[in-house]
C-alpha cells in the first residue's frame, strides 16, 4: 500500500467521522433540548452552552481533518482515478459505427434491444411517477395546516415511488450499457469482415492491373476523374449541410429573440403588477424558516 493510499484512507475516515460526529451532536442537542422543553415550554432547545459542550469533542477531529486536507492539497495528493475520466461507451460505439458501411443483423438486433430497454426504463419511470402526480394533484393532501404532518405524509406518499422510478432508470441504464457493449462487439466483428473483404478485392484489383499493363495513365486519369466526381459530391454535401446549419442558426436566433422579448415583457409586467415589490419585501426580511432557524 503506497503512502498516498494510506493518506486517502485516513482523510476519508476523518471526513466520515466528522460528518457522523456533527450529525450526532445536532441530534443529541435537539433530543436533550426537546426533553427540557417538554417540561418547560419556554426553554430553548439549542443553547450556546450545549453547542460549546458538543464542540469540545468535535474540535480535534475537525482540526485534524482540516490539517490533513491542507497538507494533502499542498503536497498535491489526489485520487489517480480523478484525472482519468470515465470512458464513455456511447462515444466508442459512435466512433466504430462511423467506420463501418452497413449494419449487420447483430448490430441491428443489439440496437433494437437497447431501444426496448430505454423505452421500458422510461415507461417504468413514468408509471412510477403516476402515483406521485396523483398525490400532488390531490388537494386533500395539502389541507393539513400542520406542516410537519404534511411533510411526513408527502415523503411517505412520494419518496418510495420516486426511488422506484430512479431505480428503473438505473437498471435500464445498466442494461442499455450491456446492449451497447454487445453492439460494439458486433460492430468490431463487422469491421473485421469488411476489412477482410476489402483486402481480398484489393488483391484482385492489383492482380488485374498487373495483368492489363500499360494502363497506368488510364488508371491515373481514371482515378482523377473519380476523385473529381467524389470532390464535387462532397462539396455538394457540405454545401447542403452548411445551408441546413445556417437555417438552424437562423431559427435559433429567432427563438432566442422571441424568448428575450417575452422575458423583457414579463419583467415589465412584473414591475407594473407589483411582483417585483414582493421579491424586495421577501428579500429584505430574514426568512427564518428558509434558513432553517425555525
Amino acid at each position: 500500500m503506497t503512502r498516498k493510499k494510506v493518506y486517502l484512507i485516513i482523510q476519508t475516515v476523518l471526513c466520515v467521522l466528522l460528518f457522523v460526529m456533527l450529525s450526532t451532536a445536532a441530534i443529541r442537542i435537539f433530543r436533550e433540548g426537546s426533553a427540557r422543553r417538554a417540561e418547560h415550554p419556554l426553554e430553548s432547545i439549542y443553547t450556546v452552552e450545549a453547542v460549546a459542550e458538543q464542540f469540545k469533542y468535535i474540535a480535534p477531529v475537525l482540526f485534524a481533518s482540516v490539517g490533513m486536507a491542507a497538507a494533502g492539497l499542498i503536497l498535491g495528493i489526489r485520487d489517480e482515478k480523478e484525472n482519468k475520466g470515465v470512458r464513455d461507451i456511447r462515444s466508442e460505439r459512435d466512433l466504430i459505427s462511423g467506420r463501418v458501411t452497413g449494419q449487420s443483423m447483430e448490430v441491428n438486433a443489439a440496437r433494437a434491444g437497447q431501444r426496448h430497454v430505454r423505452t421500458g426504463g422510461w415507461t417504468a419511470f413514468g408509471i412510477c411517477m403516476v402515483p406521485v402526480i396523483v398525490y400532488l394533484l390531490n388537494v386533500a393532501h395539502f389541507q393539513d395546516e400542520n406542516l410537519e404532518n404534511m411533510f411526513a405524509a408527502l415523503l411517505r406518499g412520494t419518496v418510495p415511488w420516486v426511488c422506484a422510478g430512479i431505480a428503473c432508470l438505473m437498471i435500464a441504464g445498466i442494461l442499455e450499457e450491456k446492449g451497447i457493449r454487445r453492439e460494439i462487439e458486433a460492430l468490431k466483428a463487422q469491421m473485421k469482415s469488411e476489412r477482410a473483404s476489402a483486402d481480398t478485392s484489393g488483391d484482385i484489383g492489383s492482380k488485374t492491373g498487373g495483368l492489363s499493363g500499360g494502363t497506368m495513365t488510364e488508371g491515373f486519369s481514371g482515378g482523377t476523374m473519380t476523385e473529381a466526381l467524389a470532390g464535387s459530391k462532397k462539396d455538394k454535401v457540405s454545401a447542403a449541410a452548411k445551408s441546413a446549419e445556417d437555417a438552424g442558426n437562423r431559427k435559433m436566433v429567432i427563438l432566442q429573440s422571441v424568448v428575450i422579448a417575452a422575458a423583457v415583457f414579463f419583467i415589465a409586467a412584473g414591475i407594473w403588477n407589483g411582483s417585483m415589490h414582493d421579491v424586495l419585501i421577501k428579500a429584505i426580511n430574514i426568512c427564518t424558516e428558509c434558513i432553517g432557524l425555525g
Binding site: 476519508t12 460528518f19 450529525s23 445536532a26 442537542i29 435537539f30 415550554p41 419556554l42 432547545i45 439549542y46 450556546v48 492539497l73 489526489r78 485520487d79 482515478k81 475520466g85 470515465v86 456511447r90 462515444s91 466512433l95 462511423g98 406521485v132 388537494v139 395539502f142 395546516e145 406542516l147 411533510f151 408527502l154 422510478g165 432508470l169 438505473m170 441504464g173 450499457e177 446549419e245 432566442q256 424568448v259 428575450i260 414579463f266 409586467a269 412584473g270 403588477n273 407589483g274 415589490h277 414582493d278 421579491v279 424586495l280 419585501i281 421577501k282 428579500a283 429584505i284 426580511n285 430574514i286 426568512c287 427564518t288 424558516e289 428558509c290 434558513i291 432553517g292 432557524l293 425555525g294
Partner: protein, 599 residues
C-alpha cells in the same frame, strides 16, 4: 531539476484559472455586504429586488441581491393574489442568455461544491447510477418548488417555500451559519427544522467531497430550470461539427452526467476544451468567441485567435478585468459604507440594555418638555381623524400614514416618533424614569390604578415596561397599551409573507378566546406590507384578536425593538412589564405557559 518541476507543477495547481476567478468574483459581488457578517444583519437596500442568476440565499448577511429560487417560490405562493411575471421574466432572461453557464461560472454554491471536492479523498466516478440520479432534480423541482408551494399558496394563502424550508443547504450554510454567531438570541428559535436542515447540509457537503458537484447534479432545481434553456442559450460551450471526430474525450473527461457537450446537464465550464485534440470546442456568445481552444490557431480555426488577434484578446481581457475590479470595488464601498440603507440600519441598531433605557428616558423627557403643545395639537387632530377612520375598516394605513406626516417635524429633528400619550400618564412615566436615573424624587401617582402600577423603567427588555402607544385596528377599534393594565398582554409582530407568522396566528386567537377577559392580544403587521392589504388577508379567517399595520416609520416596532426577523412575540404582565420578548415561533403550550407566567 526534478524538485523544480514538482514545485512548478504545484504552483500551477494552486494558480486559479479564469473560471475560478470568475466564480470568486461573482460570489463576492453577490455578497458584497461584508459588514453584515460582523453585525449579523442582512442588507435591506432596494437592490434586493433584483435576482442574481446563481444560487445565493437572500438571508445571507452578505447578500445584496435576491435568490432566484426563493423568488420563484415566493411568486408561486402568491399566485392567488398576483402572477409572478417579474420572476418568470428574470428566469427566462438568464436562461436564454446563460443557461447552465450560470452553474459553471457564476454560482457561489457551485464554487463551494468544487472547493469541497478538492479535499483529497477517493472520488466516486460518474456512472449509470449517477446518470439516473441526475433526473431527481426535476422531481424535486416539481414536488418541492412548484406543487407544495403552489397548493399552500392557493388553498391556505400560506407562503410556504418548501424547497428552502426542507432542503436548501445554501440557506443553512449562508443564512443560519452566517447569522448565528452574531445573533446568539437566534439560538432560541432553533428546533427540529434546524436539526433536519443541518443534517441535510452535512449530507450534501459530504456527498460533494466524494462526488463531483453532487448538489448541482442531483438536487438543484435551479440547475434543472436552466437545463431546459441549455439547448438554445446564447453564451455557452459550442462544438464545431466540422472539426469534431466524435472521439468522446469531452464526455469522458467531464465530471457532469452529460451525454454530449451542451446538453441539459452541461454546465459550460469549458473543461472539455483542454482535452479536445481537434480544438473543436470553444466558448461562444452568439458568433463571438469568448474562449478559444489553446493551440487553436495552429489548426487554422476561423475563431481561434492568431498572433495579432491573441494580443488584442489579452488586451481586451485586461480591460474587462479592470472594469470588473472597479465595479467590485465600487460595490464593496457602496454596500458597506455609502448606501443610505446601510447608514440607516447602522443608525437604528439597538443600543445595549442600560444605556438604551437611559436614552429612552431622556428622549421621553425631552419630547414631553419641548413638544407638549405640538402633541396636544396632534392629539386633537388625531381624535378628529379617528372619528372619520372608524367608519372605514381598512382605514388604518391611511391613518397611520397621516400620523406619520403629522410627526414629520419631530422626526426630522432626529427625535423618536412618539405615539399618542395621555399627558398625565406620560408625566408619571417620566417621573418614574427620572426616579430610576436618580435625577429627581417624585410623588407616587395617585390617579393610576395602584394595584397594577409598575415602577419599571421604559424599555423593551424583560423587566422593563413598554412605552405607551395607541393604534387604530382593522375592525375600527383602538388599542391603547395603557388600557391593557390588569390583563396579560400579547403583542405579536407578523407579516403576510412570513409562513411561521401566519401559522401561529390561530394559536393567539385560541388563547384570546380562552381567557377573553384576562388577555389582550394585538397583532402588528410589519409596515412593509405588500400591495395586498393585510386586512384583506385576514378577513376570511374570522379572528377575534386585534390587528393593525405599523406606521411607515415603524412606531410599534421601534417601541418593542422589533427587527427584521419575524415572528416576534412580546408578553406583558398585568403591570405592563415585559416578561418575554423574542423572535420565535410560538406553540400553544408556550403561549399557555407565558399566560400563566404573566398572571
Amino acid at each position: 531539476m526534478d524538485n523544480n518541476k514538482v514545485n512548478s507543477s504545484r504552483r500551477q495547481s494552486f494558480r486559479p484559472g479564469t473560471r475560478r476567478l470568475v466564480q470568486l468574483y461573482s460570489a463576492l459581488l453577490y455578497n458584497a455586504h461584508l459588514r453584515g457578517f460582523i453585525s449579523g444583519e442582512i442588507y435591506r437596500g432596494s437592490t434586493k429586488a433584483l435576482c442574481v442568476p446563481g444560487f445565493n440565499c437572500y438571508s445571507c448577511p452578505g447578500a445584496t441581491y435576491a435568490c432566484p429560487l426563493g423568488a420563484i417560490q415566493n411568486a408561486l405562493a402568491s399566485t392567488g393574489h398576483r402572477a409572478g411575471w417579474y420572476v418568470l421574466g428574470i428566469i427566462m432572461l438568464y436562461g436564454v442568455i446563460l443557461g447552465r453557464t450560470v452553474c459553471g461560472w457564476i454560482c457561489p454554491l457551485g464554487l463551494i461544491q468544487e472547493l469541497l471536492h478538492r479535499i483529497p479523498t477517493p472520488k466516486i466516478p460518474k456512472s449509470q447510477i449517477t446518470r439516473a440520479l441526475s433526473w431527481l432534480k426535476y422531481v424535486i423541482l416539481i414536488v418541492f418548488v412548484v406543487a407544495v408551494t403552489l397548493w399552500y399558496g392557493i388553498v391556505h394563502d400560506l407562503p410556504l417555500p418548501a424547497f428552502c424550508k426542507y432542503i436548501c443547504p445554501a440557506g443553512t450554510f449562508e443564512g443560519a451559519m452566517g447569522l448565528l454567531p452574531a445573533n446568539p438570541s437566534f439560538f432560541d428559535m432553533l428546533g427540529i427544522l434546524f436539526t433536519r436542515k443541518f443534517v441535510i447540509m452535512l449530507v450534501i457537503g459530504m456527498a460533494c467531497v466524494f462526488c463531483y458537484r453532487s448538489f448541482c447534479r442531483f438536487i438543484c432545481p435551479l440547475g434543472a430550470i436552466y437545463g431546459l434553456f441549455n439547448r438554445f442559450n446564447i453564451i455557452g460551450v459550442k462544438v464545431d461539427a466540422e472539426r469534431c471526430n466524435h472521439c468522446g474525450a469531452c464526455v469522458s473527461s467531464c465530471g457532469m452526467d452529460i451525454r454530449r457537450v451542451g446538453d441539459h446537464e452541461c454546465i459550460n465550464c469549458g473543461k472539455c476544451m483542454e482535452v479536445c485534440r481537434q480544438n473543436a470546442i470553444s466558448i461562444k456568445a452568439g458568433k463571438l468567441t469568448l474562449k478559444a481552444p489553446e493551440g487553436g490557431s495552429s489548426q487554422g480555426s476561423v475563431n481561434s485567435p492568431d498572433s495579432s488577434s491573441s494580443g488584442s484578446g489579452v488586451k481586451t481581457g485586461r480591460i474587462v478585468w479592470g472594469i470588473a475590479l472597479a465595479v467590485l470595488c465600487f460595490a464593496l464601498l457602496w454596500f458597506n459604507i455609502l448606501d443610505p440603507a446601510v447608514k440607516k440600519a447602522a443608525a437604528s441598531a439597538p443600543v445595549p440594555d442600560s444605556r438604551n433605557v437611559q436614552m429612552a428616558a431622556l428622549q421621553t423627557e425631552k419630547t414631553v418638555n419641548t413638544d407638549i403643545q405640538t402633541e396636544e395639537a396632534y392629539i386633537a387632530g388625531t381624535q378628529t381623524e379617528e372619528a372619520d377612520i372608524a367608519t372605514a375598516r381598512t382605514g388604518t394605513i391611511e391613518s397611520e400614514a397621516s400620523q406619520t406626516e403629522s410627526y414629520d417635524d419631530q422626526t426630522e429633528a432626529g427625535e423618536p416618533v412618539l405615539p399618542e400619550h395621555e399627558t398625565e400618564q406620560e408625566e408619571t412615566e417620566l417621573n418614574q424614569t427620572r426616579h430610576e436615573n436618580g435625577q429627581e424624587e417624585t410623588e407616587p401617582n395617585d390617579t393610576a390604578e395602584t394595584s397594577y402600577e409598575s415602577s419599571a423603567p421604559i424599555g423593551y427588555e424583560v423587566g422593563q415596561q413598554l412605552e405607551d402607544f395607541t393604534v387604530q385596528c382593522f375592525d375600527g377599534s383602538t388599542f391603547h397599551l395603557a388600557d391593557t393594565r390588569g390583563k396579560v398582554t400579547f403583542i405579536n409582530l407578523w407579516a403576510t409573507y412570513c409562513t411561521p407568522c401566519v401559522q401561529e396566528l390561530p394559536y393567539f386567537n385560541d388563547l384570546y378566546n380562552k381567557y377573553k377577559d384576562d388577555v389582550a392580544v394585538l397583532a402588528v403587521h410589519s409596515s412593509l406590507a405588500p400591495k395586498d392589504d393585510p386586512a384583506e388577508f385576514i378577513s376570511d379567517e374570522g379572528y377575534d384578536i386585534q390587528f393593525t399595520t405599523d406606521s411607515k416609520d415603524d412606531t410599534v416596532f421601534k417601541i418593542v425593538n422589533g427587527g427584521f426577523t419575524l415572528p416576534q412575540t412580546i408578553v406583558l404582565n398585568r403591570r405592563g412589564e415585559v416578561i418575554y420578548n423574542k423572535a420565535i415561533s410560538m406553540t400553544p403550550e408556550m403561549l399557555e405557559s407565558l399566560y400563566q407566567e404573566g398572571r
